[in-house]
Amino acid sequence: MSLKDKLLSSYIAFEDYLEDDSPIHDLRSDAIKTFENQGFPTKKEEAWKYTSLNSILKEDYSLFPKKDNDIQLKDVKRYFLHEIDTYKIVFVDGIYNSFLSETTHDKADVCLLSSALSKDKYKPIVETYFNKVAKNNSLTSLNTAFAKEGAYISIPKHVELDKPIEIINFATGNETAILLQPRNLVVVGENAQVQIIERHQSLSDNAVLTNSVTEIFAEKRAHVDFYKIQNDRSSASLIDHTYANQERDSIVKVHTFSFGGKLTRNNLNFYQNGEHCDSVLNGITILEKKQHVDHNTLVHHISPNCESHQDYKGIFDDSSTGVFNGKVYVEKEAQKIDAFQKNNNILISDKATINAKPQLEIFADDVKCSHGCTIGQLDEDAMFYMRSRGIGQKEARALLMYAFANNVLEGVKIPELKRRVNKLIAQKIGVNLGFDL
C-alpha cells in the first residue's frame, strides 16, 4: 500500500477516535480531501522541481506510535539549551512528555495544542487563529487532517515572556520508521514578545519523516524571534511549514540553521497585513555527504511601508545539494516597500550543487527591492593570506567559512544559543578554533 493510501485509510480510524465536537472537525475533513486530491508533491510541480520526495516516501511509516516511549533526561539533555532557564514543550514520538517539559499558564499560555483543542476556554483563540494563515497545499493539509498535538503558545498583549521557549520533538526509533506531524500555534498579542527555539531530533538510525506546520500570528507591535535548529541524523527527513501573519509594526524573525538530516524542506510564508512590518528570514546551511536542503520562502507584501530581509548562506561539501527559492510578492497597494534578499553559497566540492531561484513579483511602482545571489568557491587570496600567516589549510578554510556565515549569526539574540550554533558550525566544519566568533 502506498503511503498516501495508508494515510487515507488511517484517517477514517483516526476520525472515529476523535470527538466530533472538536472545533476543528470540519477543517480536518476538508483537509484530508485536499490531500486526497493533490497527493504528495512531485518534481513536476515548479515549487518542487529540485526536491524529490520519492525516496523518503518508500518507507513503511508507523502513523500512530505506541504510547510508552520513555526517554531519560540524561540521554537527551544535550539537545536542550540547558545552560539557561527555558520553558520546554517536549514530544517523544509525537506524544507529549510531561517529565521533560516545563509549561506555564501564568502570564502566558505555553502548553499543548491538544489541550487547547479540547478545552472550552481556548475555543475563541482556536477558532480565531487555527489554520487561518496556513495554506491549503497538500502537505499542510495532510498535517491539518491529522493535527492533534504540538505546541500551543499564546502571549497576551504587553507581555514580554521572561524566558525562551524550546519546542523539541524527539523520535526514539522504537518503530522502524515513523511519520510525525506536529502542529504548532503561536499567537503573540499586541506589543508582546517571545523567543522560540524549535528542534527535531531523532535518537536512532531508524527512518523519521516529520511533516510539521507552525502558524505564527504577530499582532500589532508584537515581536517574535523563532530559531530552527535542524541538525538531525542522516536517517531523518523534515518538511517544515511556517506561516507568519503580521499585523502593523510587528517584527517576525525566523532563523534556520540547517546542518543535518537527510532531506529538509523549509517552506516559510510571511504575510504582512499592516504598515511598518518587518520580516526577517535568515539561514545558515552547511551540508555534506548526500544531504539535501531546500529553502522555499515567500514574503507577501500586502501593506505599504514595510520591510523584509532575507539572508541565506550555504556551504556545500561532498555531493550535497541545496535549493533556494525565494519569492517576494509586492501587491499594488504596497508602496514604499524595502525588500531585500540575499543568497550566498560556497561549493567546497565540485560534486555539490545549489539551485538558486529568486523570484520578484512587483505590482507597486515605488518600492526598493534588491536581490543578490552568489555561488562561489572559497576566496583563494584570503586562503593564501591566512596560510602565509601560519594558519593551516583546514583551519584557514574553517575560519573563512565561519567568517562567511558570521553575519547571519549576529541576529541570534540568545547568547547561549549563539554559542551553541557556533559550536555546531565548528563541529560541522571539523575544527575547534578555541574562540567564538
Binding site: 593570506y385 591566512m386 602565509s388 601560519g390 593551516g392 584557514a396 575560519l399 565561519y402 556565515a405 553575519n407
Partner: protein, 249 residues
Amino acid sequence: MLKIKNLHATVEDKDILKGINLDVKPGEVHAIMGPNGSGKSTLASVVAGKDEFEITNGEVLLEGEDISELDPEERAHKGIFLSFQYPVEIPGVSVTNFIKTAINETRKSKGLKDMPAGEMLKLIKEKADMLEIDRKFLSRSLNEGFSGGEKKRNEIFQMAMMEPKLAILDETDSGLDIDALKIVANGVNKLKNDDNAVIVITHYQRLLDYIVPDYVHVLMDGKIVKSGSKELAYELEEKGYDWIKEELV
C-alpha cells in the same frame, strides 16, 4: 638566510620571473625597487608559497633548505612573513582572534602548547602600543573597512607579533601618511636584529631613509638588472628607470 638561485616562475603559462638571483644574509636589509608590473610582488608571493605561481626553474633556499615544495603555512612556521601589498579583508574574524590563531598554529607546528591567554594579551598590548594602534581597532574584523594606511600598519602589527626571521614588506609605505610611515618604520627597526633579515619592496626612496638598506636591487621584467648600495635609490628617485634600460642595451 634566504638564497634565491636562477628563479623562474610562471602564471598561466606567462613568464613573470626570468632568472632571479638574490642572497640575503642574517642582519641585512635589502630593498627591491622596479617599475610597475616588473614582478616584485610575484617574487614575494613565490617566496611565501602562493601556489598560483609555478616555479619552472631555480631554487629558493631558507637557511640552506629548499623550501619551494613547502606549503605557505609551513614556510610561515619556518619564519617567513609577507606583509601584503593588498592585505585581504576577512569579515567576521577580529584582528585579535586572527593573530592569536596565527601564533598558536605556529607554536603547534613546533610542538608547543598554546600561548597562555595572559601572556598573549600582554604581547598584543605591547606591540599595539609600539605601533600606536588603538585597542578598539583590534576587535574589528580583519582589514574590513580599514583605510589603506590602517591595513599596512596592521600588517606590521602582525609581523611584530610573529617575529619572523625573514620579513618581506611589499609596498608597506604606500598608503601611510608621513607620521604613520615613521611609526611603522620605527617598529620595523625595533624588530630588526643580527639574526633576522628584511626585504623591503618600495617605489619611493623616502621609506629607505627610515629603514636603511644594505643593498638596493632593481627588478625589471622579471630579472634583477642592477644592484647597489642605498645611493642607488636616490639615483632612481631622481632619474627614474630609463637610464637603466639604456644601460642594458
